[in-house]
């Protein structure tokens, strides 16, 4: 009873108001209170999902986006973590360049997409490079933070047991830094996905972002609305997977 009142009822109200909104919009569009060229009926948007998957090869587009994100993620990991290790081991390098990495993380790199377009051409390479540039900085920062944040007493324990430097790294430093590294990877991959879909839309190439742009340029309004909804769903699912993946890895790494 209490569970129903406090947990399920609000969720039901949330979903119901979404359905109500769709119904009201449907009626307003059908009675021409809203210009049907601006807003397609929700039923036609819902109906075009099948078309997106079939005629528009939605799954292949999803695959293209996924491949770009995957390539960028691999690059981010194999570059980000070693660079972070280098910064951690060389105190002077870290003192000099950690703030540069922080500036890179804060810089609105996506605005420079025309530049990347010129340098790398209108190809998926541009998208991967931009996604890499957007995602690598948080991985570096969080990894350095993870190593720097290892409690000194743990290192002392290792020293007192006379571990070799490599044992110290594999048995103490790395496991202690893992949670922070995973946080960095999650952030980096989120930025990568956002950049991939955004740049696909902007430069009109690749997977899902490209699909939205194409449908919009064709004035296929129900299709555009459906494709945007689809991308929102994909990113929500991607983030949820990353979050539970991070939790699972952090637990099993203990």
């Amino acid at each position: 009873m209490r569970h129903w009142r406090h947990r399920l009822l609000p969720v039901a109200v949330g979903l119901a108001s979404l359905a109500l909104l769709a119904a009201v919009v449907e009626l307003m569009v059908r009675s021409s209170l809203i210009n049907p060229f601006i807003m397609p009926t929700p039923s036609s948007v819902f109906g075009s999902f099948g078309r997106l998957i079939g005629e528009e090869h939605g799954l292949a587009r999803l695959g293209a986006t996924a491949a770009e994100v995957l390539a960028a993620s691999v690059l981010i990991t194999v570059v980000g973590v070693p660079v972070a290790l280098l910064l951690h081991w060389r105190v002077r390098l870290r003192a000099a360049f950690e703030s540069w990495v922080a500036a890179l993380a804060a810089a609105p790199l996506v605005l420079a997409y025309p530049l990347f377009l010129v340098l790398f051409g209108r190809s998926q390479l541009t998208i991967v490079v931009m996604a890499f540039a957007a995602g690598v900085a948080p991985v570096i920062l969080k990894t350095v933070e993870g190593f720097a944040g290892v409690r000194p007493v743990l290192v002392d324990v290792g020293r007192s047991l006379r571990l070799t430097p490599s044992q110290l790294f594999w048995k103490i430093l790395l496991p202690a830094a893992i949670p922070s590294i995973f946080v960095g990877l999650r952030l980096g991959l989120i930025f990568a996905l956002l950049t991939v879909t955004g740049v696909e839309f902007l430069i009109n190439i690749g997977g899902l972002g490209h699909l939205i742009n194409e449908l919009a340029e064709r004035y296929d309004m129900p299709g555009t609305y459906a494709a945007i909804t689809f991308v929102v769903l994909v990113s929500v699912i991607f983030f949820a997977i990353l979050e539970s993946g991070e939790r699972w890895l952090a637990r099993s790494a203990r």
């Binding site: 406090h6 947990r7 009822l9 609000p10 969720v11 109200v13 949330g14 108001s17 979404l18 060229f37 601006i38 807003m39 002077r92 390098l93 003192a95 000099a96 360049f97 540069w100 500036a103 804060a106 810089a107 609105p108 996506v110 605005l111 420079a112 997409y113 025309p114 530049l115 377009l117 010129v118 340098l119 989120i190 996905l193 956002l194 950049t195 879909t197 955004g198 839309f201 902007l202 972002g209 939205i212 742009n213 919009a216 309004m221 555009t224 609305y225 945007i228 991308v231 929102v232 990113s235 929500v236 983030f239």
Partner: protein
């Protein structure tokens, strides 16, 4: 005493070393750029030499058109910040104040807030036209979500004892908001605004590069399509510097360190 002096000496020495390695890194990067530009490795002007970029920089700053477009972008940004921050604040206060509303609607906010915003641009064009309206729309939807989410979370984090104190002195609901909640939430509200400012600028400028006939983003794309690379580099430097400056300013105002 001697140890202290030694430590200080070591510190200044480290600082000098840091400065030196940064300067060397800068020089190496610039030299690399210049070498690539002069080598002709890339097609034509793809990597213009530094002196030509500097010259383009100068001519952009001397161009009255630049200031007109700067004004357009600036205006779009101010309107979208005003609308986005105020609606975000209102939505955040409603969600943070009511557990019911939060459970019913806040997850939608998180879903929409975590999606890339630029993909909504076709809708903005449909609703608000190809002019400044759609750019303001982009700025607003970029700004709204981080502000609303940060304010809602901040409101829930207000120390409950302050709320009890307010109630025990029989403050009215309005007094509770103005005298307890808002001052207690200063940091999360300003933090939300800071995040909002950062993404609103990106939203407006990206929208301008995608489809427009005025504004800084339009100028960038114009020089891109004319293949005037030095000018495009100069404009991109200006645009990014502006976005960073705005972000830093907002951070200063929010009282947090950059």
């Amino acid at each position: 005493m001697a140890g202290k002096v030694g430590a200080m000496k070591k510190k200044t020495w480290l600082r000098a070393e840091v400065g030196a390695s940064r300067a060397i890194a800068c020089l190496v990067l610039l030299a690399l750029w210049q070498a690539i530009a002069l080598s002709g490795l890339f097609f034509q002007d793809v990597v213009p030499s530094i002196d030509r970029v500097l010259f383009a920089f100068w001519s952009v700053l001397a161009d009255p058109l630049f200031y007109r477009n700067l004004g357009v972008t600036f205006g779009e940004m101010l309107v979208s910040l005003a609308v986005g921050c105020s609606t975000g604040l209102a939505a955040g206060l409603a969600l943070g104040g009511s557990p019911f509303l939060s459970r019913a609607y806040e997850h939608f906010l998180h879903y929409l807030g975590s999606a890339p915003k630029i993909i909504f641009f076709p809708l903005m064009i449909l609703w608000f036209g190809v002019g400044p309206g759609s750019k303001v729309g982009m700025g607003v939807i970029s700004c709204f979500f981080p502000v609303a989410i940060s304010v809602a979370a901040g409101m829930r984090a207000v120390n409950p004892v302050w709320i009890r104190v307010g109630r025990s002195f029989r403050a009215s609901p309005l007094q509770m908001v103005t005298k307890v909640y808002l001052p207690a939430m200063r940091t999360p509200i300003l933090n939300g605004f800071r995040l909002g400012v950062g993404v609103a600028i990106i939203g407006v400028l990206l929208a301008e590069t995608k489809l427009s006939n005025q504004g800084l983003g339009f100028m960038v794309m114009q020089s891109y399509s004319r293949f005037d690379m030095p000018r495009m580099y100069a404009l991109l430097i200006i645009v990014i510097a502006m976005a960073v400056a705005f972000n830093t300013l907002a951070m200063r105002l929010a009282g947090s360190k950059p």
